[in-house]
């Protein structure tokens, strides 16, 4: 069949190239974004008033401005100040900061859900605030935040496609170029959908494994 040959000979090689760039964007952004989210979420809950206000401000800004506009600022805007980021670097910076703001909300919710007694017991033993958050509260809160943060990572996999708007040609970028050249929009975009679906499915499966790995007796699983 004509479509299948087309798919095999033209789509797959182009997509393979784009996929490698996508992975290059997604993996660092997911890790950095989660790290930023944990730090910012913790500061918003446990920091002093000034720190909490600043981190709240960061979240308001990065959730309020559309991601595309943020990416434009990093790639097209920074050169006005003499800072030149490559398309890949600008994308990673944009994605990390944006997803960090969303992660921090999930983390903040999870931190607030931990019983107050855990904090009291840690303080009574002489833990400093930092030690308490790191050794007692976060290990429990991260397990609670995992479904939400996993959700955000899955969302990141899909919004990484915006990188092509700042000339970083990843999977969606390759698709757009190929479709424009060949006018075979249906086949191309159908396959892009399939690729992203596979990516997201792999990520979901990985997150599910992680959730199972981290379960503790009595900690939330109510499966009988």
């Amino acid at each position: 069949m004509d479509e299948l040959t087309f798919i095999q000979s033209e789509i797959l090689p182009a997509f393979w190239k784009g996929l490698k760039v996508s992975i290059q964007l997604i993996v660092p952004s997911a890790l950095l974004g989660l790290g930023i989210g944990i730090a910012v979420g913790s500061l918003r809950v446990y920091g002093n008033r000034l720190v909490a206000a600043m981190t709240d401000g960061y979240v308001v800004l990065f959730r309020g401005v559309p991601l595309v506009v943020q990416l434009f600022i990093w790639y097209f805007g920074l050169p006005y100040f003499g800072v030149y980021l490559s398309p890949v670097a600008a994308s990673i910076v944009g994605f990390s900061l944006c997803s960090g703001a969303y992660h921090s909300e999930y983390i903040r919710g999870a931190l607030l859900s931990i019983k107050r007694g855990q904090m009291l017991a840690a303080q009574a033993l002489g833990f400093s605030k930092l030690q308490m958050v790191v050794s007692v509260i976060l290990p429990q809160a991260l397990r609670r935040a995992l479904p939400g943060c996993g959700n955000e990572i899955i969302y990141l996999i899909k919004y990484s496609s915006l990188a092509y708007m700042i000339t970083c040609i990843e999977l969606t970028g390759e698709a757009k170029i190929l479709a424009s050249h060949t006018f075979r929009y249906t086949e191309v975009f159908f396959m892009v959908g399939v690729f992203y679906l596979i990516l997201v499915s792999i990520a979901s499966w990985g997150l599910h494994l992680l959730e199972d790995r981290l379960t503790l007796p009595g900690f939330e699983h109510h499966r009988t």
Partner: protein
Amino acid sequence: MPEEPILRIENIKKAFGQRDVLKGVPLSISRGELKVLIGPSGAGKSTLLQCINFLVTPEAGEIWLEGHRINHHRKRELYAYRQQVGMIFQDFNLFDHLTAVDNIRIALLRVRGMSKQEADARAMAELERVGLSGHAHHYPAQLSGGQKQRVSIARALAMDPKVMLLDEPTSALDPELIGEVLAVIRDLVANGMTMIMATHQIGFSRALADEIIFMVDGLVLEQGTPERIFSDAVCDRAREFCAKITELYGESL
């Protein structure tokens, strides 16, 4: 023989919003003594205990440990002070994400800075002391109430505190589990641990306390030896309270 009290508290005041919970409470305790706080709910017994290790910051009042005044505004001094004052909670407050032995180890590792081997050895020894070495690798969700409270006592003891504060340690337990926890507390008394305990366990207090402190509405109404308070209290409110709880709890030892 008047000995310098190991812990001395003066004029603790605490208000939550408009409500005055503690209206100026003094307390002093010498090494090896057991003082028991009794009184109706809302008297401020828990709040007083939480003020003693500054889990709750009092509006007024001073605390001296071994003659040295504690300045709770200095973080380092506060954390060092808290290591020397152990606390047992009514709800146990074990760290849910850690096994029994890890619950004990974590403070030794992170706060005391012990090496892994030292912390391991000490934690297992403390678990042994409360009779739970078989449950070392169980999580709090897998332990009974009495076992959880015993682990929390082991966790506090591992820090070698000078004073232990016990906030109604058996109030959340099934009656048949209270005995095992009281047995551990009795051992602590026998080994000379200085303790301040809020409880409704009258039989236990009568037998082991050096002094009973009766609190109502944020003030100490009366204090004295168990014999005096339970049989011949001076103020009416104390008599009334003692009569009611003796009737309710009887001679449980």
